[in-house]
Structures are given as C-alpha cells and as structure tokens.
C-alpha cells in the first residue's frame, strides 16, 4: 500500500519537462499571490464593520494620529485584531504542516490530535489558579502541548511511527484533555469568563496585549521552522531512509514536534481552541505547490494568516452586531474539508 499524500495529476508529464508544481517561478508566484491575499485581507478587515472606513483613510489613520473616531477604531480595535488573527493563523498553519510531517500522517492537526487541548488545559489551569500571572499562560500552554505530544508518541509508538495509531491516540488524548477543560470551565465558571469563546476560539475583544504575547513566539517559530525545512524534507522520506542519509531522526522529530507545540500553544493562549487551520492550510498548499517544506512553510504561513484574518472579519460582520467566534467559521469551512480528505 503505497502511501502517497498527493494524488499527482501529472501522470502524462514527460520526464524532460518539470511539472508545473515543481517550477521555482510558479512556486514563487503562488507565494507572492498569497502575500497579496494577506495584504488584501488586512485592508478589507480594517475597512468593514459598524463603522465603514474607506481604504485611503485606513492608511492615513494608521500613520497619523488625528484623534478621529476612525483612528480610534482602527488603532485600538481592528488593526491589533487583524495582526493577531494573522499571527494565530500563521502559527497554527505552520504547526499543522510540521506535525503532518513528523507524525507522517496527513490528518495531524494540533486541534485534532489533542495538542491544542493540552495547551488549553494547562493555560486555563493558570488562569483559574493564579490569574495574576497571565504572562505565564503561553509557557504553561507549551508544557501542556508538549505533554500531549509526548503522550501521543508513547501511546502510538510500536517500533516506529504508525499513522493510524497516531490519530487514534491523538483523538483519545484530545478527548481526555477537552474533558479536563470542560470540567474546569464548569467548576470555575466565575473565574474564566468567555468559556464558550475559549472552546471555539475567538478573536473578540483581543487587542495589543495579546499581540505582544504571541509575537515573540511567532517570530521565533517562523524562523526556526524555515530553518528546519530541509530536515523536514529528509524526514518525510521515512525514518530508515532519513537515517541512512545522515539525519538525526529522533532529534529532528523531537525538535520539530516541540516547535509545533510552541506555535500551537502560543496561538491557543490568546484565542482558545481554534481548530482546522492546521489541517486545511497545509493541505491546500500541498495541492498548490507540492510538499517541499522550503516552500510549504512560508506558503502555509501566509495562507493561514489570510484565512484567519478573513474568517474573523466574516465572524465579526456577517451577523452584526452579534459576533460569532471565528472558530465556528473555521469549523464550518474545516469539517467538510476534513471529510473530503478522508474520502480522497
């Protein structure tokens, strides 16, 4: 049973001709277009809402504090929220791309295999027990995410990584940690406000504080994952082959898992359990440009950012004045996509 993540559609391509998805120029154009999508999503998100702001005004009030209502709306509410959405989307997308590689399973996504719920459980624990130490949340969330990943490995390891066992173990771990989260939210409902939005993932009322919480993790995570991309390319050839080529398989797997856990945990710390981004985005990118991690990581980062920014804008405006959590929008997009992948 040859396990190929991509059903390649270029069976008839002559050997002498480089398949479209392998061409450097094509890949760079896709990445360029994704970048434009992020910029577009950013301006669109800043423009729409209860107060409509024309595009030219957005730039004006971004750079000049003229004390106007538009300036206040953009600077204090929409701008940080869009940035935060972008960072969260980027983190989750990269985390998903890395996890799918290290767990050699196309369905690995931080929210499906319990890494996000591990982060959530530990994060909420801090919020409940020591609410004065908010700054510790991402660190504890990382510990939770890492524990979840390690438990999954221990449960699923049988002389190597086995894709089906990974998913089954992940779903079990996810259920366990989610139960823990629900329990906490029930018993301490007075201390954790916005339980519903946490469980679904929401960017509502987030501002600069959250941006600065996640920013360092995003920057470090992005740089380290870009630097790991060649190692990831070797790792997905399979453990035996990778070792033969001179890759330290265990170290690489541990490092990239930790990196994914860090990225997912920092996202969970600021928006709660936002699902499906890490699943949808890397897969769409694979379909577009193939799974060379040197291109997949930056492309996933951009698409993740654009997707969450747009979904959040949608969540904020479509039932205005009622805001729905962005996680609900993601689930509506993600669940059918997940089923599509399963049936493929």
């Amino acid at each position: 049973m040859a396990r190929s993540m991509n059903k390649t559609g270029d069976q008839n391509v002559e050997g002498s001709q480089v398949a479209l998805r392998d061409r450097l120029a094509y890949r760079l154009i896709v990445i360029g277009l994704l970048f434009l999508a992020v910029v577009g999503a950013f301006f669109y998100g800043n423009a729409v809402g209860t107060i409509k702001i024309p595009f030219n005004r957005i730039l004006e009030v971004l750079f000049f504090d003229d004390g106007s209502m538009e300036r206040l709306t953009i600077w204090n509410i929409r701008f940080p929220r869009m940035i935060l959405g972008g960072l969260v989307g980027m983190n989750l997308a990269i985390a998903g791309a890395l996890l799918q590689g290290v767990m050699s399973n196309p369905l690995a996504d931080p929210s499906i295999i319990g890494i996000s719920s591990g982060a959530g459980l530990f994060g909420i624990f801090i919020l409940v027990i020591m609410p004065q130490h908010m700054a510790l949340v991402p660190i504890f969330a990382f510990v939770g995410a890492m524990s979840a990943a390690i438990i999954i490995y221990i449960l699923a390891w049988k002389g190597g990584i086995q894709p089906t066992r990974i998913i089954l173990a992940g779903v079990a771990v996810s259920a366990l940690f989610s139960a823990g989260i629900s329990g906490m939210l029930v018993f301490y409902s007075d201390r954790v406000h916005g339980a519903l939005t946490f469980m679904n993932g929401s960017l509502s009322a987030r501002s600069w504080g959250e941006v600065f919480t996640i920013l360092p993790y995003s920057v470090i995570g992005l740089l380290l994952s870009l630097m790991s991309s060649t190692h990831m390319n070797i790792l997905i050839l399979g453990d035996d082959v990778a070792r033969g080529l001179g890759l330290e398989v265990e170290k690489t797997r541990m490092f990239c898992t930790a990196l994914a856990a860090l990225l997912a945990a920092s996202a969970v710390s600021v928006v709660g359990l936002l699902g499906f981004v890490g699943l949808i985005v890397p897969h769409s990118i694979r379909l577009l440009i193939g799974n060379d991690y040197r291109f997949m990581i930056p492309a996933s980062a951009l698409l993740g950012a654009a997707l969450v920014m747009l979904s959040d804008t949608f969540a904020r405006t479509v039932f205005s004045p009622t805001e729905i959590p962005v996680g609900i929008v993601m689930a509506v997009l993600g669940a059918p996509f997940f089923l599509y992948l399963l049936r493929r």
Binding site: A19, I234, L245
Partner: protein
C-alpha cells in the same frame, strides 16, 4: 590484503525476550561484493537494519574502520555508508532530481545550498543509473524498476564507500532484476564501492557476488565463495530443499536448481 572497512563483532539484537540476531561476526573488505542469503525470518533484514543504524544492538558492535557506527557522527557515517531499504514508501511527492539531491545532505552544512560539486555528483548519479531522462518525474509516477534506480541514484550521490541493499530486486520482473544487478556490479567495478546486499535469488547471489553469507536461525551459518557454499550441502540444509548444482558455462559460476522440498 586490505584491512576490512566494516566489521561486525559479537553482534546480538533482541526485542523483549525474542532474539533477532545472535552473536554475528563478520568482516567486509573494500571493493568486494557480498550477498547475504537465508530463509525467511533468519534475520537478514534485521542485520541490514543494524548495519545501517536503524536497529540498536543489544550486545556487540558494528565498526566502520574500527570505530563504532552508533557512536560516530551520523553525517560522517552517511558519507561512508549508504543504504537502500527494502520498503521505500514515502509521503513526499518529490521528483527524482530533488530526491537525488537529498543524497548530498550529509555533505552539506545545514544552511548551505547545493554546491557545484553537489550538482556534479547528482548529475553523475543520474547518468550512471540511467535516470537523467526521468529526472523531472515524480517518484510516484515511476515504474518499480525506475523507482528502484532512483533510490540507488540517491544512495550513490552520497558518495559512499559501502552500499547496503536490502532485497533490491524483490518486487521487480526478471529484466528489471537483471538491470539492477548489472547496475550494482558496474558500481562495484567502476567506482570500487563495496556492496553488501540481501538477496532472495540464490542464483543472483552466486553469480554477482564474491562471497556468500548464509544466515540461519539468527546467526551466521556459513560464509564462503559461491562454489564453496553451493557445493556443500549448506543450502539444502538451511532451505530444506533438494537441489542440483550445475555450472554457468560462460561465467563459470554455479547454478542452483531447487527440485523439491525435503520433508522433515
């Protein structure tokens, strides 16, 4: 005579209380071709996986020029020993040229791209294996024989002294089997690469190798040149078959024809 480059000392591998390999001692000399044969479950693949650091020994050592391969820097080992595994399923949708470039991984620093030397080696590997016209094809779209040649191209781009091959011909039809065996022979003759391969086909082993290593019951049962092994009753005992031995008139190598199973 040269010092052997790869040696195996009292090697045992166990999984829980099941013994997988027991007290194996071997020495591989530079430039020779070795074939490991034996019945199913005798430990052939486990031996290959240990030689390629994919199984940890529970006792004993594997040494590359006197140094334990499990202690050496893994990239250093990869510059000397390349392995073609039996099962190469990958979720990568890589094309052949990129795959062969991965063979240069151990020769690069992690931040540097392909050097001119790397590209030269990659082109050489593609030409040697006859894959230059298929270089831009996806691995998934190749036939079994082509795919095997692509993996061999990757292995030799590593520029190894020793090439380990675990049943390189098992899933191929007869002409592709010979194609792979001839390629391996060419690599040995022209590049002086030491070949250690697990083979199912005793006649291929007899025809293409300098020395046969017969594994039986997780240990080395006998080793020797093809005539020594085939003329004794070793294989008939190990595989429990009755066989005729004849001679290949052109090459002078022995031919093994198994006639029937010996009932125990």
């Amino acid at each position: 005579m040269d010092q052997p480059i790869l040696t195996v000392h009292h090697l045992s591998v166990a999984f829980r209380d099941r013994r997988i390999l027991h007290d194996i001692n071997l020495a591989f000399e530079k430039g020779k071709v070795y074939a490991i044969i034996g019945p199913n479950g005798c430990g052939k693949t486990s031996l290959m996986r240990t030689l390629s650091r994919n199984l940890k020994p529970s006792a004993g050592e594997v040494k590359l020029r006197g140094k334990n391969i499990f202690r050496l820097n893994t990239k250093y080992v990869a510059r000397h020993i390349a392995i073609l595994s039996q099962f190469n399923y990958t979720m990568s949708d890589v094309n052949v040229r990129t795959l062969v470039q991965y063979g240069r991984f151990a020769h690069r620093k992690w931040w540097s791209g392909n050097s001119a030397e790397d590209e030269e080696k990659v082109d050489w590997a593609l030409t040697t294996t006859g894959m230059q016209d298929l270089a831009n094809r996806k691995l998934a779209n190749l036939s079994g024989g082509e795919r095997q040649r692509a993996w061999i191209a990757m292995s030799i781009a590593q520029d190894p002294e020793i090439l380990l091959l675990d049943e390189p011909t098992t899933f191929l039809d007869i002409s592709h089997q010979l194609e792979i065996m001839e390629l391996v022979t060419k690599l040995n003759r022209e590049q002086g690469i030491t070949i250690v391969m697990v083979l199912h086909d005793i006649n291929h082993a007899a025809r293409y190798s300098d020395e046969l290593i017969v594994l039986h019951d997780q240990s080395v049962f006998r080793r020797g040149n093809p005539w020594e092994i085939l003329e004794s009753n070793v294989l008939e005992d190990v595989f429990r078959v009755q066989a005729d031995i004849s001679i290949d008139k052109e090459l002078g190598t022995p031919i093994f024809y198994a006639k029937k199973v010996v009932k125990s």
